[in-house]
């Protein structure tokens, strides 16, 4: 089987802090990582490869040149091949434009049975690029995949709902997006790291994947950022002091009563 895994290098948004005085982001020292859900997508592909060693896994990302570090990590986890899609013409792409570029790259790869992506990236949290790639490639999709199995070209998945799941059958080729319940991603292995450093990661430009420049980048994107801001705290509230917990509890309840909250 031939699998394409779409992955993204993201800043670890949990490590970001806000400067309490200036109310701005402190980005220094925030590491770039392989997006969590994408690691689950790669892990599922690697599990298939373990069961069927003739499986070929290609990891595809769109991003700046630094994203090669993440691709090397994917190779060290066990992927066979990695491709970086990078071009200044892609800068500022929204999900519509991003999916145009990625779909063009997937068309260039050509021969595949399955596209596996993470449900969403932790920096944007949109969950839009997976379904939009599927639309551009005219493939069926299942998002929020929490369990996966296959036989021949037939796939059975569990798709998570808020209050349960759907059991869905479909045929390859298709696009699936993974959530963390799907599996536990492995770590890089020592031989994997050794092998990864020997592999070259090709960089594809917009011209290489023959994408129309009117369909990628900031100008082509239907959505633009109008304003952005850090949410202001509502200001420090009242600290309830008191002799012991009983008095604190009583004072709190009285305050709530006075303001007709309870």
């Amino acid at each position: 089987m031939k699998i394409i895994v779409c992955a993204k290098q993201v800043p670890d948004t949990n490590e970001v802090k806000i400067d309490p005085v200036k109310n701005t982001l402190i980005r220094e020292g925030v590491p770039s990582i392989l997006n969590h859900d994408d690691a689950n997508a790669l892990e599922e592909a690697l599990k298939i490869k373990t069961a069927y060693p003739d499986t070929h896994i290609t990891v595809l990302t769109m991003g700046p040149p630094q994203a090669k570090d993440m691709l090397t990590e994917c190779l060290a986890m066990g992927a066979d091949e990695a491709i970086l899609l990078s071009d200044r013409a892609f800068a500022g792409s929204d999900t519509w434009a991003t999916s145009n570029a990625l779909a063009a790259a997937i068309r260039k790869i050509g021969d595949f049975d399955l596209v596996f992506a993470g449900r969403q990236a932790i920096d944007g949290d949109t969950a839009q690029v997976g379904p939009q790639i599927a639309e551009k490639l005219d493939l069926p999709q299942v998002t929020y995949v929490k369990e996966f199995s296959f036989e021949g070209k037939n796939i059975t998945v569990k798709r998570a709902l808020e209050d349960g799941y759907e059991l869905i059958k479909l045929k390859m080729p298709c696009v699936l997006t993974a959530i963390k319940e799907l599996n536990q991603p492995r770590y890089m292995s020592i031989p994997g790291i050794y092998n990864a450093t020997k592999k070259t990661i090709p960089t594809w430009s917009a011209a290489d994947v023959a994408v129309d420049l009117a369909e990628v980048g900031l100008e082509a994107s239907p959505t633009n950022v109008y304003r952005s801001f850090t949410p202001a705290g509502k200001g420090k509230g009242i600290m309830i002091e008191g002799e012991g917990e009983k008095e604190q509890a009583q004072k709190l309840l009285i305050s709530l009563k006075i303001k007709h909250i309870i």
């Binding site: 929204d94 519509w96 959505t223 009583q250 709190l252």
Partner: protein, 432 residues
């Protein structure tokens, strides 16, 4: 549009580099240079004390499409097994507001898709729908991406709404991007606020943010939908517009918008939309839909939420949280840390990657207040924080804070809860 550095003004202070969420500014020869990671999020502009950063003026937009043909606000009123999702009614309320902001001649319309769902039509009218577009087909009994995308894309193309809203549910987030891609229009995910009128948007910014609003004209006739959402793990808020394409599409977080009062006397226009859907159009087969047997946590509807975090120390701490919740008539929530530790199921999680809530009272017990948690609960009416650490960030957003051991404070709260009225009257008596 792009961010531009005015080299003559740049002093090389690197403040913009620190302000950039995307690592998109490099220093070259002591001057800031924008690199290809820039998303034009504009965070750097106010960060520069020397006015050395500006947004290049928008080029004259060549209008390839005539946008004036697009009218009305549509709400995808999601139903599952013949039951409307709560968010569908919330969005009718929001859609009602937005349609009137655009103009008196505009309507809010429900798009109802499924099979044998006629019984929902009067409900949609009673919650504010001026019109219901009804798509009824046995092939649409269960949600499928292919089936719903096809019929809804065709209806949108035919009737041309200017705005289409979806609930950011597991289904809405599967469907909306697919439709947006098919219609080649923009989609903004997980919105928590929507504005049409610039004056309303400016009021919001002035009340809740520190953003300089001097560049915004309150009396502007701009009728673009301003879609505000948390981004970057809830660390920043971004307002997104879709100026060149129609419809403007958003998914909206459940629990954020407000339903209209139910008015059962209200009726509206019913439009039956014909489809030509074939079984072969649908490439996935829904074998079965399993409801979880676990207790459903309805965080979005709860008036009181009692949440526990890592500060509980161990999973048994949730027993105490449950007791408090039972006492106040609320439900149990949690921080991501407690879910990741395996102490409680993900369905209880409040925050950017969990559920967004705005209860009357939110009790945060042993929760430090990571930004991604705050993103999901800071619009609660009242936040009460109990934490050992007086410097915990949760106290920055709390209305009431108690520094102390939650294992001592909560039992007292439970004990005193029913006596609140007496305590209050005694307090009044003392003051009188």
């Amino acid at each position: 549009m792009a961010i531009k550095i005015i080299n003559e003004n740049c002093k090389g202070c690197t403040l913009c580099v620190k302000a950039c969420p995307f690592d998109a500014i490099d220093m070259v020869n002591k001057l800031a240079v924008i690199n290809e990671k820039c998303t034009v999020c504009n965070q750097c502009i106010p960060a520069c004390p020397f006015k050395a950063i500006e947004k290049e003026a928008e080029k004259e937009v060549v209008k390839v499409k005539d946008l004036s043909a697009y009218k009305n606000v549509w709400v995808y009123t999601e139903q599952r097994a013949g039951k409307l999702m709560n968010v569908a009614l919330e969005l009718l309320g929001e859609g009602y507001k937005l349609s009137r902001e655009i103009g008196d001649d505009r309507k809010v319309c429900a798009l109802l898709v499924g099979y044998n769902t006629e019984h929902l039509i009067p409900v949609l009218f009673s919650y504010g729908a001026d019109a219901v577009y009804h798509i009824n087909d046995p092939l649409l009994e269960n949600y499928t991406t292919d089936g719903y995308t096809k019929v809804m894309s065709e209806a949108i193309t035919e009737y041309k709404p200017e705005i289409v809203l979806f609930g950011a549910t597991h289904i809405g987030r599967d469907l909306a991007p697919r439709i947006a891609a098919r219609l080649d229009t923009g989609l903004t995910a997980d919105c928590t606020r929507l504005d049409v009128k610039t004056s309303n948007y400016v009021d919001y910014l002035e009340k809740y943010t520190t953003l300089d609003t001097s560049s915004l004209d309150r009396n502007s006739t701009d009728k673009n939908l301003k879609q505000t959402r948390p981004a970057f793990g809830g660390n920043i808020m971004a307002t997104i517009i879709c100026p060149k394409n129609r419809p403007q599409m958003s998914t909206v977080r459940p629990g954020v918008m407000t339903k209209l009062e139910k008015d059962e006397t209200k009726v509206g226009e019913l439009i039956k939309v014909q489809t030509n859907l074939k079984a072969s159009d649908i490439r996935t087969e829904v074998v079965e839909i399993i409801k979880a047997t676990k207790e459903l946590v309805s965080l979005t509807d709860a008036e009181f939420i009692c949440s526990g975090g890592r500060g509980l120390g161990d999973p048994s701490g949730f027993d105490l949280i449950k007791k408090l919740a039972d006492k106040v008539g609320g439900v149990v929530g949690s921080s991501r840390a407690a879910v990741d530790a395996g102490w409680i199921d993900h369905s209880h999680q409040v925050g950017q990657t969990g559920t967004t809530v705005k209860p009357k009272i939110y009790f945060a017990c042993g929760i430090s207040g990571a930004i991604q948690h705050l993103a999901g609960m800071q619009t609660s009416d009242i936040i009460i924080a109990i934490n050992k650490d007086p410097d915990a960030p949760i106290f920055e957003v709390a209305d009431y804070g108690i520094v102390g051991d939650l294992y001592k404070v909560i039992p007292q709260l439970i004990e005193e809860w029913d006596k609140a009225q007496d305590l209050y009257e005694a307090e009044l008596y003392l003051k009188a």
